[in-house]
């Protein structure tokens, strides 16, 4: 899922300071899991905006606001309300904001679509409702087969691919002593698996061009363009 946190309400308010009639659109996917964009979050945001003197003309909750057809499915029936709003406030990730903008464009509308959340990475849930952690940044050449299923690109603060830096101490990372050094985790895991030899294979520098943005996925043909 894409992790999200709330922007300060003042910042959201400032982004729509020129508009009175607003629509609030959440996301029932990742943002719901992060407790930032589900039904409750949409209601809370609508109330806060009303309290700040805004006229909330629409509330909507696509299943996944980053899927264009799901956002269409949620907004097509309330297209008129969308058109009545002067601006939309999105409780979803950066993708959700941009897909909603695209949907308004599909309707022939030129209106500001504003982000109420900050997106903080591809997250995986460790403790439901409590804790998620970044585990992958989609580097385009997955190394997990050689690193015991632990990602050095994401979990090592320096994305090192040839073992730990000099700052690894007592199994912890130099950047945050509360966090395990990814390379100690990898080493222990490979030792347990009897796969230590796999480490010796990797000397090459990573090909970051595979992460050159924006990447486009040709879904039909299964390739990145």
């Amino acid at each position: 899922m894409i992790g999200t946190v709330n922007k300060p309400f003042e910042e959201v308010l400032e982004s729509i300071s020129d508009y009175e009639r607003v629509g609030v659109i959440g996301c029932n996917g990742c943002a719901k899991v992060c407790k930032t964009g589900g039904e409750q979050a949409v209601d809370t945001m609508a109330e806060k905006l009303k309290g700040a003197g805004k006229d909330v003309v629409l509330k909507a909750l696509p299943d996944r606001t980053c899927y264009v057809y799901k956002t269409h499915a949620a907004l097509d029936p309330v297209k008129d309300e969308v058109a009545k709003a002067e601006a939309l406030v999105i409780l979803g990730c950066g993708g959700a904001v941009q897909i909603t903008r695209k949907v308004t464009e599909d309707y022939g509308l030129v209106m500001p679509v504003k982000a109420a959340l900050n997106s903080v990475g591809h997250m995986d849930t460790f403790i439901e409702g409590e804790l998620a952690m970044e585990q992958c940044q989609e580097c385009g050449d997955c190394m997990l087969n050689d690193t015991g299923g632990i990602c050095p690109v994401t979990k090592c603060a320096k994305s090192l691919v040839n073992g730990p830096c000099g700052g690894s101490q007592n199994g912890k990372c130099e950047v945050d002593p509360n966090r395990d050094c990814a390379w100690v985790l990898i080493y222990n895991r490979l030792t347990a698996l009897g796969e230590l030899d796999r480490l010796r294979k990797r000397l090459l520098a990573k090909d970051w061009s595979l992460m050159a943005r924006p990447r486009t996925l040709n879904i039909k043909e299964g390739r990145v363009e």
Binding site: G163, G167, Q169, E174, W183, Y187, N188, A205
Partner: protein
């Protein structure tokens, strides 16, 4: 002169370290910049001088500029390069710059993370790591850039690397050391170490590698400084007994005590390896006396 030539001759190689200042070092009158002053205190007493690269991710005068300045003043600089602030294009270009400007030695490091420094909002680079930097530098010595393109004139640099004998798990550190050697490292400087028994264990594991090692040493300044290093400097561990020993003398006697401890520990550790690397952190003026007392010629 390349450090590798000294090691090849069987010389016991002593180096020290200076950190470039936060500011320029152009001679405009006034006080001499600290890094140049410290270097002067070591002149003629050591073989080479490491010049740190924005150490601890704190922005300062660059290692290359400081190295060249020191070379012009008759020192033998070891140009430190980290992978934190430059991508592979800039790093390779700086290797060409260094060689073109007369630098003979380079120490390849990953670099401290930006989170430890004074520009925490910066974007960290870490395009490549220390192992790959060594590999690239070796290829450039052989006339090719990282992509295999021919260099009109190759670099000619002695390639150094670092290793931490305190590391736990040590196996992982040794694996990394082997990777560095395979990549092109020609000599090693260790992280500061205060426990000869730990050091001996490490040396036993790596002596078959056939690459010269300099034992690293940060002179203790006070009990508080030692505790600070234990808590904040990654990879360093000062035993409690040494902290107590430092605490046993009044403030005025600390320099003497520090020299005494340094000499005592290095007398044990230096014979195990091929050199010493001092990190005096401002106490460069004490290094000559330590060297004298070590009587390294024997």
């Amino acid at each position: 002169m390349k450090l590798t030539e000294l090691f090849d001759k069987g010389e016991f190689v002593v180096s020290s370290e200076v950190g470039p200042v936060k500011g320029c070092v152009r001679d405009v009158g006034g006080e001499e910049p600290v890094c140049l002053k410290e270097a002067r205190e070591l002149k003629g007493k050591i073989h080479a001088l490491n010049v740190t690269d924005n150490q601890s991710a704190v922005m300062r005068l660059g290692s290359l500029a400081a190295s060249i300045k020191l070379k012009a003043e008759g020192h033998e600089p070891i140009f430190q390069m980290t992978c934190r602030d430059r991508n592979r294009i800039a790093l390779q270009s700086d290797l060409l710059n260094a060689c073109s400007l007369g630098i003979d030695n380079v120490l390849c490091l990953t670099g401290d993370h930006i989170a430890l420094g004074d520009h925490k909002q910066a974007k960290a680079v870490f395009d490549i790591d220390s192992v790959q930097l060594l590999h690239i530098a070796k290829n450039m010595n052989e006339g090719k850039d990282m992509m295999g393109n021919e260099l009109s004139q190759p670099t000619n640099l002695a390639l150094g690397a670092v290793v931490n004998p305190n590391a736990d798990p040590l196996d992982l550190q040794i694996f990394k050391m082997e990777s560095k050697i395979a990549a092109g490292a020609q000599f090693f400087q260790t992280q500061a170490i205060y426990d000869p028994a730990v050091f001996e264990k490490f040396v036993k594991r790596v002596e078959g590698f056939g690459v010269p090692i300099q034992v690293g040493f940060v002179m203790l300044k006070s009990p508080a400084m030692a505790k600070f290093m234990n808590n904040n400097v990654s990879g360093i561990s000062v035993p409690e007994s040494l902290i107590e020993e430092m605490a046993s003398v009044p403030k005025g006697g600390r320099k003497e005590k520090s020299v005494e401890i340094t000499v005592r520990l290095l007398k044990e550790m230096a014979p195990m390896v091929q050199g010493i690397h001092f990190m005096p952190l401002g106490w460069s003026n004490l290094v000559p006396s330590v060297i004298e007392q070590l009587d390294l010629k024997n």
